[in-house]
């Protein structure tokens, strides 16, 4: 290797460190478990409106990601993130319980219903996703499943799929069932899933692929995955499950400020921006998120949270269940 190559590489290395390592004042760092394709345009909008650079770390529900939540926990007392924008309302409690969160009452959160925000300002929820059934219309032309209990019905043996309950929103869904049904009933339900040959996919995205591709007749996933499948032209029907009794699980995205973050003022500014009604409407239009505030217009195919019967859960309690059931869940999965 000649000296020119070595010199070029050395200069490149130094430039990389300088470019990235220098602490910049006019920037805000956000870690988000909202899908990149959804979150990025929103964050771009903030950059354009305020001239503040946003540096983001995105998460994915796919199996290889350790997840930004665990990265936040690992970074612990020396957070690199100013803001955590979570795709669900439960994971923030794992940070709250560890004392990693700074309370901040955004003025833009005033019209968010109390059940979707913390009274002390530790977290604020908006634009929700729901857990829905997506059904392949070619395989099930009529009489689709209407409840998550159909996953264990003999009619659907070997024909349904859920995502791995150790990861992603399925973990929260299972924890919510533990909170509502209790241990015995939920464990029996999960064991019945196994007995009924329900496929355990690596993610909600894969559930979508399996149903769209006709590998299974129906699956349990999130509204944004369902919306994506519809946009791709997949032959699917979306069912909001359990509208007669249990209710559909609703998961508002939540935003919170990290304690000891490098840019607290800009972090608050970003939170204010995310909690505007315009952003919530934008998320309804781009990713079929359900507005939690009244009076926000939605596209024809998107329902408002207020129009649904949803599961009556305390997100804090679900968060506690989430941690408690992990060893049992690992055994259930076989890991």
């Amino acid at each position: 290797m000649n000296s020119n190559v070595v010199r070029t590489l050395a200069i490149g290395a130094a430039a990389l460190v300088l470019e990235m390592g220098c602490q910049r004042r006019n920037e805000v760092v956000v870690y988000t478990s909202v899908d990149q394709v959804v979150a990025e345009p929103i964050l771009d909008g903030f950059e354009k409106q305020f001239g503040v650079r946003v540096r983001a770390v995105f998460d994915t529900e796919e199996t290889k990601s350790t997840g930004v939540l665990n990265r936040l926990i690992a970074e612990g007392g020396r957070p690199q993130a100013d803001v955590f924008w979570s795709g669900d309302p439960v994971r923030p409690f794992l940070l709250v319980n560890r004392g990693f969160v700074e309370a901040y009452r955004s003025p833009n959160a005033h019209d968010i219903p109390p059940s979707f925000k913390a009274a002390n300002g530790e977290w604020s929820g908006f634009a929700a996703r729901a857990r829905v059934l997506i059904v392949n219309k070619n395989l099930v032309p009529s009489d689709p499943p209407k409840s998550i209990r159909d996953l264990i019905h003999v009619r659907w043996k070997d024909k349904a799929a859920i995502a791995n309950p150790l990861f992603g929103t399925t973990t929260m869904h299972v924890a919510a069932l533990f909170a509502v049904w209790g241990d015995e009933k939920t464990r029996a339900f999960l064991n019945a899933l196994r007995a009924n040959g329900v496929r355990v996919a690596s993610s909600n995205g894969e559930v979508k692929r399996l149903v769209s591709g006709g590998e299974v007749a129906f699956g349990l996933t999130d509204t944004d995955d369902a919306d994506e499948a519809l946009k791709e032209g997949a032959p699917i029907q979306v069912v909001y499950p359990d509208q007669d009794e249990l209710g559909t699980l609703l998961m508002p995205t939540t935003v919170l400020l990290m304690k000891g973050d490098p840019h607290p003022d800009l972090g608050k500014k970003l939170i204010d921006y995310l909690l505007t009604r315009d952003v919530e409407r934008g998320l309804a239009e781009s990713a079929a998120h359900l507005p939690v505030r009244a009076g926000i217009p939605t596209p024809a195919d998107v329902r408002a949270a207020t129009s649904l019967r949803f599961m009556d859960v305390d997100y804090g309690k679900v968060g506690a269940e989430l941690e408690r059931i992990q060893p049992w869940l690992r055994e259930w999965v076989g890991l």
């Binding site: 290797m1 899908d35 959804v38 650079r53 796919e62 350790t66 690992a74 791995n164 591709g213 590998e215």
Partner: protein, 526 residues
Amino acid sequence: MGGALIRALLRRQERWVLAAVGVVLVCVVALPLGAPLLSLGSSGGSLSRAFRDLTNHARLWILLWRSTWLSSAVTVASLCAGVPLGLVLGRTDVVGRRALALALALPVSLPPFLLVLGWYYIAGRSGWLGSERGSAWLFSDAGVIAVLSLAFLPVVVALSALGVRGIDASIEEAARVAAGPRRTLVWILLPAIWPSIALAAVLVFAMAFSELGVPMFLRRDVYPAAVFARLGGVDYQPGEALVLALPLLPVAGLLMIVERLIFRGRSFAVLGASHLSTNPLALGAWRLPASAVCWTVAGLTGAPIVALIAKAGLRGLLAGLDYVGASLVNSLATSLIAAASIAALAAVVGHGIARRIRGSALLDALSMLAFLTPAAVLGTGLLAVYNRPMTGWLYQSLAIIVLGFIARYSVVGVRTMAVAVAQSSPSFEESAGAFGARYVRRLVAIVLPMHRRALVGAALLAFLFCFRDLETAVLFYPPGGEPLTVKIFTLEANGPPPVVAGLAVVHAATTLVALAIGSAWFGTKA
């Protein structure tokens, strides 16, 4: 005083240079792997739970056994197909040799999770060749073995071809006086490249063993998934994950012992200072059938990439370009710098292993351990070690990705260099030493020029591994500094499939260009 110190340093150059390399490897491998132990130490319950899990859970040992036999099957399948292909590609007049080399190398440019996505588009139930039976086969152990074998085949082909091209032409010419091409290939060239084959086997086994994305996509349980469950789930337990990684130590040790047994008692002084004879071995009547087989295998390995291209379409490709942003530059810059650093480490440690210099084996074992340990464990360790006030500038920059790459892939360069040096006679270095040339001078003036080809090969191979890396960088890339593979992965969850496929094609095309530039440089300069 100063003069005496310098003289003392000069006398012990070998030791000091190795020690310096050792410090680098300790900082990027040993400290990060040790860091999770501290979290265990601070919580006795967690420690005892981790060991209880490991010793009492039969399921974990079953998973370990499953991973071992799946990886063994992948290794055997890759070797059976890859070594003959490498020999043919390296030394015969097979039709379209250069194009074939590039076609066979291409799949290694993509992370396996993208290749399995391509196979899903082909053989999934609603795929182009989809059927009930095909889908059932894809989502089985056989499917995992087939997908991974084809994904890692290029590594075996490349190392076998490199090995055979490094053999002194005079040895082959002497054999051809009395024997035909087939006998020369089987009885002369094949035994001479045992070290390259052993290296390929070790790399493929280690990659297959630590692979998580493909088995989980195809819903087959493997041991790394159990380790990942302690890091990727809600129950974040890096210490427990490290304890579960302990059984990998004997696996790494076993791999190294097997490789050493292949070396032991044999002379591999077959690498020539002179290069290839100009005429490749003529296959004669076998030329067309052999070419057809080679191109068929290349077609199979490239099939998932074709599927991704078809899925992307022109619209996806153009949209993919819109999404690339700075991620391509991040990938290229970090991979190039890491590859150059790995080549520098490899020159010292690889030479040390081949010449059995004290301490080299330990550094080799450390780099092998980092390669075999699940990336999630190494990544969380790097985060724990470098997210501190003193090293914050490093953790917040792309330099942290470079460190991660060096930690994980140094073994690729080290082993490539070790094999090359082991294939050459130490007589040149001994002669120089007899005339007073010290270690550094011998290394710079004799070893590196003599093994320039291997050094460039090691850098190129390291670049490929770094550029396609996903599982290491995804854990600690700096905010706004994501590499292209991470961008593809995060978009893969819910991004438009044509865009994901389009980005994968951009990645593959960039690798192709890098390979073409590298091989051109390889041909003219090395």
